[in-house]
């Protein structure tokens, strides 16, 4: 990419914003185009978890998070380390297995007997099986983080266009030369597509098929309780954390595959699953059974067929980089943006092996892969035999 060239980033979620921020840091003029408000979709609605050692981006993510507040100039509420709470012996055995695998990768896991666990997490019950202190991973506040990226981009001279929807991409001579929006046309020298569950819709404008299926997932949050030292304590089928304010925010359990009818993202609703989340949280922290749930929310995320991100630079048009984080993109965002900015500027990433995150791995995918996997919307009303999923108990 020549100097002075400008990049349009499609999508103001954590991935697009981080990419734009890294490009700004390199002095590349950037415009982020976001159909709503920055971080309004999954990036502002997630669990804030940042513990994904299966990703080649994880080492870089771990290096960056502790510096992010300072680099961005705004707080992210990042906290290092996680605690795995094991309510039952079965959960402990599973965690023991997990710890062995993590240690094989070189991560430090500290076993906690019930007493040691109770000292760190006083909310657990008398009969808790035990726990683990993970000396890696962490968590941050998604809403504060996305806004921090956005403000940092502006501080570096980048532009963010909110309430602007991308409607097309103009290609000339094998390159994307302009991005069309409902507010006008933006000329560009390179494009980053980071539109979350809408990524496939955008790449289809270029004749490129990206296999992603959107789904809805939900969380609950309680009133604040006194802070514990490592708020990233979860388990019992839940992911989540105590926020620095003291609220408990937890999710997990059944997701719902959905269809996005058009360029918009409908407001994602909650389901009765919120009661099952409350049940698991009360089981994990029986001393907090009296603590009140005050809100819930849901978000829309995308998954690829193998659940792994696609981070790639297209061959045609050759100046387009695409990114979907396949449902674990918040925690990795400091590193995903760095990698994507490198793909834009240099065509390759110098700190991580992205081989298995290329789009080409899905070359032989059947057109009806979603149906095959059962990753399609399912409606009780449309079942052939009468399904009474809400059978009356009397």
């Amino acid at each position: 990419m020549s100097s002075g060239a400008s990049v349009v980033v499609i999508g103001g979620g954590a991935t697009g914003l981080s990419t734009a921020w890294w490009l700004c840091r390199e002095g590349v003029p950037v415009t982020v185009v976001e159909k709503g408000i920055v971080g309004w979709e999954a990036s502002g609605r997630n669990g804030g978890g940042a513990t994904h050692p299966a990703s080649p981006l994880f080492r870089e993510e771990q290096r960056l998070w502790p510096m992010m507040d300072e680099l961005l100039g705004y707080p992210t509420e990042h906290q290092p380390m996680r605690i795995r709470v094991c309510v039952t012996p079965g959960q402990l055995a599973l965690a023991e297995h997990g710890a062995a695998l993590a240690e094989k990768q070189g991560f430090r896991v500290e076993r906690l007997d019930p007493q040691a666990l109770r000292e760190l997490v006083p909310w657990v019950g008398d009969d808790v099986a035990g726990g683990m202190l993970l000396h890696y991973g962490g968590h941050a506040n998604p809403q504060r983080t996305v806004q921090a990226y956005a403000w940092a981009i502006q501080d570096l001279g980048g532009t963010i266009l909110q309430h602007t929807t991308v409607t097309g991409i103009r290609v000339q001579g094998g390159k994307a030369v302009a991005v069309e929006t409902d507010q006008g046309v933006l000329g560009c020298d390179a494009v980053v597509v980071a539109a979350g569950p809408h990524t496939a819709r955008i790449t289809a404008m270029l004749g490129v098929e990206v296999p992603v299926a959107p789904a809805r997932a939900e969380m609950i949050v309680t009133e604040p309780v006194p802070l514990i030292r490592h708020g990233g304590a979860d388990g019992n089928g839940l992911y989540g954390r105590q926020t620095l304010r003291g609220n408990l925010a937890y999710g997990g359990g059944p997701h719902e595959w959905i269809e996005l009818a058009d360029a918009r993202t409908p407001r994602p609703v909650n389901s009765p699953v919120v009661r099952s989340l409350a049940r698991r949280l009360a089981e994990m922290f029986p001393r907090l059974g009296h603590v009140r749930v005050i809100r819930s929310w849901a978000g829309v995320i995308e998954n690829t067929p193998d659940g792994r991100p696609i981070l790639d630079r297209l061959e045609d048009p050759s100046n387009v980089v695409i990114a979907t984080m396949s449902s674990v993109g918040f925690g990795l965002s400091p590193a995903s943006g760095h990698a994507l900015a490198q793909l834009v500027v240099r065509g390759r990433c110098d700190f991580a092996d992205l081989t298995w995150l290329k789009l080409a791995r899905f070359g032989g995918l059947a057109a009806n892969w979603r149906e095959h996997a059962g990753w399609v919307p399912w409606s009780a009303a449309e079942q052939p035999e009468s399904f009474d999923g809400a059978g009356v108990h009397s």
Binding site: I37, G47, A54, S55, G73, R82, R84, L94, A95, H97, L101, A102, Q143, R144, Q147, E223, P224, G235, G237, Y239, R245, P254, E256, W257, P266, R267, V269, S271, P272, V274, R275, S276, R279, A282, H290, R292, I294, R295, S296, W297, N303, G307, R308, P309, S326, S327, R361, H372, A373, G374, V376, W378, S379, A380, A381, F387, G389, A390, V392, H393
Partner: protein, 534 residues
């Protein structure tokens, strides 16, 4: 061949329901009671729900009204409070006689219907709870008659114990007969303030004064003058007096702030206006519009109260607050009956629709201008430390400066350049975004004490119409519910067996710098890691 179902998804999962109800009526105020009785007479099986008497813990949180710490310990005795609620609402007995299944002390906290992002449920479901547990019911139709709640507006010292709302005072005095105060000052000389003053006097309480920033409104003024209560119009509150609790109020003429004087009282009732309870409509996905003449955001309904979501009806104050309706509960009751007939007709019963309500003769009051006048008279740049969101301790300065919350004690230099104006330069102000950044409205009272005034302050600061700040979303649970109560005690074994912490995709949690291994062991290993690292 039917496509397989993802076992870790919601597809095919059963959510046990306690019962199926043909017609639910939510709220046993004038509208709900009339609706339930009318629907039962039309031949519908009706369940009428009301949350009163609410738990004393909720009263302490100012849920659902602003109770201001002015209820006596009798509210801890729920059976006794139930008797009092029944005594205060004689129509409840009539409803029972008409065959209505009445449930008191039950919270409706969630509603789950088919929509753009959820199609898996076979029936519309309503989430209910009492003090011990929660459960689900399915329904064909629901008349929401959830009434209105208190409009909380800041003034110096409004966050002290002893400051309550009109509906909080009414519940304390008439419904629960558990009011702990003796001498009141009522803020607001409109029909709402008049009602509070009358109710207090009937209960043998002393009303020390009525204060309003405006002039005496036409409606009710004559009656108000006959009560023998000092009326101070075009006056504002300069301070609340007392060491901890309210012991008095200092007021001054708007035109002459120096001429302040004190009035002794133990309770200040903010009776400026009410807020239609639209939370259930928002959960149900009913379109909601800004109608300042009806008190703010209200559901869009037809003449019979049908919302645009099939099977959901609105009646009474939750569909709009007017002076006429506040003064005369018969209007709400009539709306309830119309909605009941509509529900009965939509259910296929052969009954006639009722005539639409006659138009109200008096021109609608400009409630938005009234709210703004109140706020502008009490908070401004010189008094920017006044608390707006009490739960999260967000003051006016924090709100307008879009300051990070106090628990962060973050003083990055760059924040100086960020405030509401800079945010507005990036796009229209959105209250949900302000919530996320400042935490105003994110507390245990679920925003009941600050939602509307945050909207007003944002609009006033931005010189924009109040209604141009969109409605911040409501979320389940609509009442703060303990984990043990919300807990799905009735969860199916199938739910437990297929529960995963995050999507059940094997390749996701295995080293991604290697190809996805193609053997069964990888699925086991992946599951282990998925539960371990999230």
């Amino acid at each position: 061949m039917p496509s397989p179902v993802d076992p870790t998804s919601i597809a095919g999962k059963a959510f046990p329901v306690a019962e199926h109800v043909p017609l639910l009526v939510l709220g046993a105020g004038p509208a709900g009671l009339a609706a339930a009785i009318e629907a039962a007479r039309c031949g519908l099986h009706v369940v009428l729900l009301d949350e009163h008497p609410v738990a004393s813990a909720l009263i302490g949180l100012d849920v659902p009204f602003v109770f201001g710490d002015r209820l006596d310990p009798a509210v801890q005795n729920k059976p006794r409070m139930t008797e009092r609620v029944v005594a205060a609402r004689p129509d409840l007995e009539q409803a029972v006689e008409a065959g209505v299944d009445v449930r008191l002390g039950v919270y409706a906290w969630g509603a789950f219907v088919t929509g753009a992002t959820s199609r898996a449920l076979p029936h519309p479901l309503l989430g209910l709870a009492d003090e011990a547990r929660s459960w689900l019911v399915s329904f064909d139709r629901m008349i929401v008659a959830a009434g209105a709640r208190d409009l909380a507006l800041a003034f110096p010292g409004w966050d002290r114990p002893g400051v309550m709302g009109a509906r909080g005072a009414d519940a304390a005095i008439r419904l629960y007969q558990a009011f702990a105060g003796r001498r009141l000052v009522v803020l607001g000389a409109g029909v709402l303030g008049l009602g509070v003053a009358l109710g207090a006097q009937e209960a043998g309480l002393e009303v020390a004064a009525i204060v309003d920033v405006g002039v005496l409104p036409a409606t009710g003024a004559a009656t108000l003058r006959t009560l023998g209560i000092p009326i101070h119009t075009e006056h504002a509150i300069r301070a609340t007096l007392g060491t901890a609790e309210v012991e008095g109020v200092r007021i001054a003429p708007l035109a002459d702030p120096g001429a302040a004087f004190d009035i002794a009282c133990d309770t200040i009732v903010c009776a400026v206006d009410l807020v239609p309870n639209v939370e259930m409509f928002d959960l149900l996905g009913c379109p909601i519009g800004w109608r300042p003449e009806l008190g703010g955001f209200v559901p869009q309904v037809d003449a019979d109260g049908r919302t645009s979501v099939p099977g959901i009806y609105a009646a009474g104050e939750c569909a709009g607050v007017t002076d006429a309706a506040v003064a005369d509960p018969a209007l709400a009751a009539a709306a309830g009956r119309r909605a009941a007939r509509a529900a009965a007709r939509d259910a296929g019963l052969d009954v006639e629709a009722l005539l639409p309500a006659p138009p109200i003769a008096a021109p609608p009051a400009d409630r938005d201008a009234m709210h703004r006048h109140w706020l502008a008279s009490h908070v401004d740049a010189a008094r920017a430390d006044v608390m707006i969101c009490r739960c999260e301790e967000v003051g006016l300065r924090d709100l307008l400066g879009v300051r990070p919350p106090r628990y962060l004690s973050y003083d990055g230099k760059k924040f100086a350049a960020r405030d509401l104006r800079s945010l507005a330069a990036d796009g229209p102000i959105n209250q949900d975004q302000i919530k996320r950044l400042t935490r105003a409205g994110m507390g245990a009272c679920q925003g009941r004490r600050c939602r509307e005034q945050v909207q007003l302050l944002l609009a006033m600061q931005g010189n924009q119409p109040t209604g141009s700040v969109p409605l911040p979303s409501y979320r389940a649970p609509l009442r703060p519910l303990p984990l043990n109560v919300l807990s799905a005690h009735d969860e199916t074994q199938e739910m437990r067996d297929n529960w995963v912490v995050w999507f059940g995709i094997p390749g996701q949690w295995l080293p991604q710098w290697e190809p996805v291994p193609d053997h069964a062991a990888s699925a086991v290993e992946s599951r282990v890691l998925r539960e371990f690292e999230t």
